[in-house]
Symmetry: C2
Subunit: 222 residues, 2 copies
């Protein structure tokens, strides 16, 4: 089945305290976004990449693409006001009858196995939302107080949130709601179930300078 | 007020895939447990250290203590069958009229500020349970399905869970229950409220070899 990776690279790098948007910061000498794109291209040779970037960052894209020997054919789309609108813009470039991975640009460490696991489950069940166990105790706030929650019943959610086009495309034609915190919640608001799949501890969002150093270790250990 | 740090070092290092229990593995050349103990001694000069160790690991303790120039006066206590029983054994060595920090041996990266924040709140409110925000989306399992939970209402819980002795000592005279997942739940089962305090992202449990490498970066960045 046709495959699209919609890679959403928003943010302004504010938390990194740097002028360059964080998805373009170097990791062992190459931009973060290079690794993210490469993971999808490596997982399936026929992967189509749709890169959603803020208007102001379009000029950086070439810097990433030139890291691929022989170049790489990528569709670049301008982002919107929210995550929902950015993904919506990316989905407009996609044809029916495909599997779509929606992925955070700043999660460069996902493995080929995770992408393939998401693909296979999406084919079978219509969706695959990567989720990992939570290792610390969790409490829920309750006014001034708090109460323990069984962490075994909770999962921490990642991307690529993966869907068959018939599940995701019409869901993204809905009107925007503030309850849309990720793609899964958009699809659910449209009345469809979503299905979890095993994620990966290393598939973390890089948000601080220390996260970048950690990511370099993970890459070196491969 | 008198201060006791009950440092609980259980586990067998199974996940690390090593023969040495993980709390004794080296971090920049010194055992993990050295850093953990040092954090408490550095925060307050009059800190009393109670180290709870499995019987089989008593012989390693000297290796840790000799890292302190001029030695360090530490009470060493044998652990029990569960975390609850280990902490209970540690608390038996403690006098009324004090503040008690119960801390995981494999969380060596906590700061002086966190320990002082816990102390001050425990004096004022009776307890201080370090908690941090959750950055990924969270879902709750519900049979075959799952549903989103507002992560803003959740907190990830750490140690040192800190209490005035009048709050913790009698709570630990209760009979053991499987719902005792940490010290906060023991105190709550005894009918007392617990109060959260701001924790630290870096105050993580070191459980994998990669966590050790991450911890070395954190130490070097100081």
């Amino acid at each position: 089945m046709k495959k699209y990776a919609v890679i959403v690279a928003g943010g302004k790098g504010v938390r990194m305290g740097m002028a360059v948007p964080k998805q373009f910061l170097p990791l062992n000498g190459k931009p973060i976004l290079y690794y993210t794109i490469k993971a999808f291209v490596d997982a399936y040779r026929d992967m189509n990449i749709v890169l959603v970037l803020p208007e102001a960052q379009m000029s950086y894209a070439q810097m990433v693409l030139q890291e691929f020997e022989g170049g790489l054919d990528v569709t670049i789309v301008a982002g919107g006001a929210t995550r929902f609108h950015s993904v919506q813009n990316g989905l407009k470039t996609i044809e029916e009858g495909a599997v779509v991975f929606v992925h955070d640009g700043v999660r460069p460490l996902l493995s080929t196995e995770l992408i393939q696991r998401c693909y296979e489950q999406a084919i079978q069940k219509g969706s695959a939302i990567p989720a990992i166990n939570i290792t610390d105790s969790i409490r829920m706030l309750d006014g001034e107080n708090s109460k323990p929650i069984d962490r075994n019943s909770l999962r921490s959610i990642q991307t690529p949130q993966t869907f068959r086009t018939e599940v995701i495309l019409s869901a993204f034609e809905q009107e925007y709601s503030e309850t849309f915190t990720d793609e899964a919640t958009v699809v659910e608001a449209y009345g469809k179930e979503v299905y979890l799949v095993e994620g990966e501890k290393n598939n973390m969002k890089l948000t601080t300078p220390e996260d970048l150093q950690i990511a370099e270790i993970v890459l070196k250990n491969r």
